[in-house]
Symmetry: C2
Subunit: 357 residues, 2 copies
């Protein structure tokens, strides 16, 4: 069936390249559609409020490893990563649908655990689970989540609104989820070698939680609203800071200066990264799965958020021709490149294809 003499390797295109390729001929026809492929979530016209829709597919062996991921945490995370896309539009997530595929040999209690994590996330974030699908799978656990959210049209924040001079801001801290994953992978290997050795995770709660139980930043969306700040652009950090910044600058047709010394990194992340011989900054730039919000604001709004410890200004937007640059702590200037996960190259990670075109 796949005989084709002009076979193209998907790995050669990369995920975004593939998506660009696939979506280039899509036309939007319905008056209900305001924004299709091209951002964190699609926007549909429900007249009074606009509808935000986002979907994620999570596959065992690709997005999660059941050897070290408790099912309840997995359920919680599956919802969070999807809500994060709605918040990144400056919207309020309201509903999810959840589709699950799993082996017919999975005990009911396992699915209950998974589900309980999902319902916990829903309860905490005031989300209704309104539908879904379940099926058996010959292929490991499959989770597909679709989130629906609402926002007033004027409040919706796209990736393409950054203006020259805007400040580049990020919530929380970065790199922790990636370093937490390295730690979990290491302890799994230790366990496989000698099952009598208990995992050595002590003192690393924070980075493990960043990996296993991320929290979508609804609080930041609320905070910005309370401060009277509408970001000029926004995206969630799922593939690594570098990749997300480049989404914003590319779609906004701008450049940026990013300051390494400003990138917020937790001490636990720094310490564990060094233990693995990794540069903490590289973990923040390319690690992914932090689910923080990256956004740009007008300089005039700076005074309103400068005292908030959970938001850090990490750089600023320049004109497009100035390019995208990282200024290192040593004062060196490097071109910023996206080296985030490529699901088709290293079998790890993925991102919704609301991406740059």
């Amino acid at each position: 069936m796949f005989e084709n003499t002009n076979s193209t390797e998907i790995a050669d295109l990369g995920e975004f390249g593939l998506i660009n390729h696939l979506t280039q001929h899509i036309n939007l026809n319905s008056p209900h559609t305001l924004k299709g492929v091209g951002d964190d979530a699609a926007v549909a016209d429900a007249k009074e409020k606009k509808i935000l829709i986002s979907t994620d597919l999570l596959l065992e062996g690709i997005h999660f490893d059941l050897a070290f991921t408790p099912l309840k945490h997995l359920g919680y995370k599956a919802i969070q990563v999807n809500l994060s896309d709605i918040y990144a539009m400056n919207g309020l997530a309201t509903q999810v649908t959840v589709s699950l595929g799993f082996s017919s040999k999975f005990p009911l209690e396992a699915i209950e655990e998974l589900y309980s994590g999902m319902l916990l996330a829903c309860e905490k974030y005031n989300i209704d689970l309104i539908g879904g699908d379940t099926t058996s799978s010959k292929q490991g656990l499959v989770i597909s989540v679709t989130s629906i959210g609402y926002a007033n049209e004027v409040d919706i924040t796209y990736r393409d609104g950054a203006q020259e001079g805007d400040l580049l801001c990020v919530s929380g801290d970065l790199g922790g989820a990636y370093v937490g994953l390295q730690l979990l992978e290491r302890e799994k290997q230790v366990f496989l070698t000698n099952p009598n050795i208990q995992p050595d995770l002590e003192g690393n709660d924070y980075i493990i939680e960043r990996q296993l139980k991320p929290e979508a930043r609804l609080d930041i969306v609320d905070l910005l609203k309370k401060m009277g700040i509408k970001p000029t652009s926004m995206i969630d950090v799922s593939d690594g800071l570098a990749s997300e910044i480049l989404h914003i600058t590319k779609q906004s047709k701008k450049g940026c200066k990013l300051y390494e010394e400003k990138i917020p990194i937790d001490p636990q992340t720094t310490e564990m990264a060094r233990e693995f011989g990794l540069d903490p900054t590289v973990c923040a730039l390319n690690g992914g799965e932090d689910y923080e919000l990256l956004f740009t604001i007008k300089q005039a709004d700076y005074d309103r958020l400068k005292h908030d410890v959970d938001i850090t200004v990490i750089g600023y937007i320049t004109e497009e021709s100035a390019g995208n640059y990282l200024i290192t702590k040593a004062g060196n200037v490097h071109e910023l490149k996206a080296q985030g996960w490529n699901a088709f190259k290293d079998n790890f990670g993925s991102s919704p294809y609301c991406v740059d075109k």
Copy 2:
């Protein structure tokens, strides 16, 4: 991780039982939500129009066999089966999101073929593909589709509105998709035994198309609207006629009489069923995947549709205590039972968990 001394076999519960079990504690909290788990599609309040949302997960080896399913057909079908749920609410499907998981060794051309079928379906039914997700899969091809549709609140047709005396109607004909699948499976086995033998599909175009390229019945929704008929209840036939009738009668708290002689079955379906030693009526009752619309109408509306050859009255609604019965051609009376696919028992098929509770 799955250690549990009280392990329950999911096969024992069955798919619907499992879903009932999982969803029994779900509360709906948002004022945006009008209808959560429990029908063909969820209904959200978008103020002027109501939003209809439905989602399906299709897995290789469970829902489709790439040995005899052309990828373009598969893409087309993946969209159709999902739109069918929106039409079954008497709504107009408008957008879809599509998530795909596939091996990194899949050639690009294969994904293009799949996608081209999806886009063809979208184009034909005026659907915008507004988002999605792609990822690699170690587990065969994974397809998740979410459809969003719109309807005026007064037009939405639930499963629970059937009234005593209403006529039970179905569009098109039944059992063809199931018999078509049997034929494709047989020819696959023949091919595996001797690859030099060409598949013998001649003269069976109709049933093969019923399996590989179903069409969601938007035309029936339009027709009913034109006739000025609002069904009192409606569902699409994805799991077999018997199962769907019982969804309607259970949720409507009614019973029914179904007449075997009235069940519309194409001659090609009958012929091929007999070749396989199958009872064509059983194929219609339990085969599934026909994606026709099953609905109830007031007797007063009968005159308006009695001349339409694509809609057949197959029985009527009774009071609940009268039970659900099939009257055979020989005049025997059998209790109607759902023996549709159980994805967890036979590794085949699945249905959205907008199901009876």
